[in-house]
C-alpha cells in the first residue's frame, strides 16, 4: 500500500510544494517603511504591517472561539475523564512523531531525531499504539518539530505576522511550514486512499480543542488582565515560536531580553537610545 502511495507523482507534488514554500518564505522580510507613508510607519508595528486586517481576522476568530470552540472544548473537558483526555493527547502527539522525526533530521538535529524515534518505538509497543506515554516517564518528553521551525533553522526570517482564519496567530514562514507539514505528513501519505484518510484532519481538528480545554482558565485570565489582548497574543506566539525554534533551555535564556539587558539600567545613558518615533 505504502509503496504504491509514495509514487513519483507524490514525490513530485512534495518537491513542487517545497519549492513554492522556499519562494514564499524567501519573500518574507520586514516591511520597508518606504512603501508606507511616514506617519503610518511611525504608528504601526514593523513586524505587523497588516495589523488592521489581522485585527479583523482576530475579531472573527474570537467570535468563532466564543460560538464554537468554547462550548465544544468545555463539553470535551467536562464529559471526558482525565485519563481519556490524556490518551487523546498522547495519541495526537504520537501521530505527529513521524513529522517531528523528519523535521529533526532536516534541521540536522540527529540526537533529537534519535530521541523521537526511540519515543515513537517505545510508545508504539509499551504505550499501546501511543495511547499511553511511558517514554515521558523514562525521560523522553514530547518535543514538537515542524517545518516552520526547520525553515527558521535554515535561516529564513519569520516575515510579517499573520492571523489566519480559525487557525489563529502565525507568520509567513510558519504558515508555509504548516502547509508543507500537512501535505508531507507521513501519516497523511500512508492513510490517503484508504479508509483512514480522515485521520490527519481529525488530528488537526482535535488538537486545538484539547489544548483549549486544558488552558481555558489561563486564556480567560489572560484576556481579562491584558491591556490589549491582540498584542498579548502576538507576543506570546512570537516568544513560544522563538523558544521552540531554539529548543531553548535555561543556558540560552538571556537572549530573549535583547539589547535592553546589555545595559545596566541603573546607570544607562538614556539619551543614547534610538529615538522610537523614527524607524
Amino acid at each position: 500500500m505504502s509503496l504504491k502511495i509514495i509514487s513519483p507523482k507524490v514525490m513530485k507534488k512534495c518537491a513542487i510544494l517545497l519549492f513554492c514554500s522556499f519562494a514564499l518564505v524567501a519573500c518574507a522580510s520586514s516591511p520597508n517603511s518606504s512603501d508606507q507613508t511616514r506617519t503610518e510607519a511611525r504608528y504601526s508595528d514593523p513586524q505587523d504591517p497588516m495589523e488592521p486586517v489581522n485585527r479583523s481576522m482576530f475579531a472573527f476568530n474570537q467570535a468563532v472561539e466564543f460560538g464554537v470552540v468554547t462550548p465544544v472544548s468545555r463539553a470535551y473537558d467536562v464529559v471526558l475523564p482525565n485519563l481519556v483526555k490524556d490518551g487523546i493527547r498522547n495519541f495526537i502527539n504520537h501521530l505527529r512523531s513521524p513529522l517531528n522525526f523528519i523535521n529533526s533530521i532536516l534541521q540536522g538535529n540527529f540526537d533529537q531525531a534519535a530521541e523521537v524515534f526511540g519515543r515513537f518505538t517505545l510508545n508504539s509497543i509499551a504505550g499501546f499504539g501511543g495511547i499511553f506515554d511511558p517514554a515521558k516517564e523514562m525521560g523522553l518528553p514530547y518535543k514538537g518539530e515542524d517545518f516552520g521551525q526547520t525553515l527558521a533553522v535554515w535561516g529564513f526570517g519569520p516575515g510579517p505576522y499573520l492571523v489566519l482564519p480559525i487557525i489563529g496567530p502565525s507568520n509567513l514562514r510558519d504558515m508555509t511550514g504548516r502547509v508543507v507539514d500537512f501535505f508531507a505528513n507521513p501519516v497523511k501519505i500512508l492513510t490517503s486512499h484508504t479508509q483512514l484518510d480522515w485521520t490527519p484532519v481529525a488530528v488537526e481538528a482535535t488538537a486545538p480543542v484539547d489544548s483549549y480545554a486544558r488552558n481555558y482558565d489561563k486564556i480567560q485570565t489572560l484576556r481579562s488582565t491584558s491591556l490589549d489582548y491582540y498584542n498579548t497574543v502576538k507576543s506570546l506566539y512570537n516568544q513560544r515560536r522563538q523558544g521552540a525554534i531554539e529548543n531553548r533551555e535555561f543556558s540560552g535564556r538571556q537572549q530573549m531580553y535583547g539589547d535592553d539587558d546589555e545595559i545596566d539600567m541603573d546607570q544607562e545613558d538614556i539619551s543614547s537610545l534610538p529615538d522610537p518615533s523614527k524607524h
Partner: protein, 212 residues
C-alpha cells in the same frame, strides 16, 4: 637549587595560586547560589502560606502582593524595560507616575492569577547563572485542580545588597517581554504618547483591582 628545580618550583607555585583563585571563584558562586536558594525558598514559602488560605480576602491578597513587590521585585528595572526605547527622554515625574501605575497593574494582574490558580507543592530546582550577572531559578508548582505541573523560572539579580526578581517566566513565556511588547505597541499606536498609556493603565487597574 638548580635552575631546573627553580622552574619546577615556579610552575607549582603558579598552579597553587591558580587553584586558590579557582576555589575563591567557586566559593563566591556557591555563596550566591546559597543566598538565592534561601531567597527563593523564603518567597515560595510566603506564597504558599499566604495564598492558600481558604478565606483570603481580595484586599488582603492585594496588600500581600504590594508588600512582595517592595520586598522581592526590581521595579525600577521592570519599569524601564517594559517601556522599551520610549523611556528615552521621559521626564522623571512621568517615570515615577508610570512606576506607580505599573506597580498597581502588577498587583491587579497577579491577584487575578493567584485567585484562579491555587499553589501547591512548590519546589525549587536548579539555579543557573548566565554571563551577565543574572541568575535563573527553576521552580515548579502543581495545579491541584488540573493536576498539571506549571514551570516557573525567575530571573534574579543582586541590586545593592539585596536579591531582586527581574522577570518571571511561566512555561517559557517571559512576563516582562510580554508586557513590553504590549506597552510599546500601545504607545506606538498612540503616536508615542506615554501619558496615554499611564491613563489607560489607571483605568485598567481600577477594573482589575475591583475584580481580583
Amino acid at each position: 637549587m638548580t635552575l631546573r628545580h627553580k622552574n619546577i618550583c615556579r610552575y607549582f607555585h603558579a598552579i597553587l595560586v591558580f587553584c586558590a583563585l579557582m576555589v575563591l571563584v567557586i566559593r563566591g558562586a556557591s555563596a550566591s547560589e546559597t543566598e538565592i536558594r534561601a531567597f527563593a525558598q523564603d518567597l515560595s514559602k510566603n506564597l504558599v502560606t499566604n495564598f492558600n488560605k481558604p478565606a483570603i480576602k481580595t484586599i488582603e491578597r492585594q496588600q500581600v502582593l504590594r508588600d512582595y513587590l517592595q520586598r522581592y521585585i526590581d521595579l525600577d528595572y521592570v519599569a524601564k524595560f517594559v517601556l522599551g526605547n520610549y523611556r528615552r527622554g521621559l521626564p522623571e515625574e512621568k517615570m515615577t507616575a508610570f512606576r506607580t501605575v505599573l506597580a498597581e497593574n502588577i498587583v491587579g494582574t497577579y491577584a487575578h492569577w493567584l485567585k484562579d490558580i491555587p499553589i501547591a507543592n512548590f519546589t525549587i530546582g536548579r539555579i543557573i547563572e548566565d554571563n551577565r550577572q543574572n541568575w535563573y531559578v527553576e521552580s515548579q508548582f502543581r495545579d491541584p485542580q488540573k493536576k498539571q505541573a506549571i514551570g516557573l523560572q525567575w530571573r534574579v539579580r543582586k541590586v545593592g545588597s539585596d536579591w531582586r526578581i527581574r522577570d518571571l517566566q511561566i512555561e517559557g513565556i517571559s512576563m516582562i517581554v510580554t508586557q513590553r511588547d504590549s506597552f510599546v505597541n500601545f504607545i506606538r499606536s498612540n503616536g508615542g504618547n506615554v501619558e496615554k498609556l499611564i491613563s489607560t493603565l489607571r483605568q485598567k487597574n481600577s477594573k482589575l483591582l475591583a475584580s481580583s
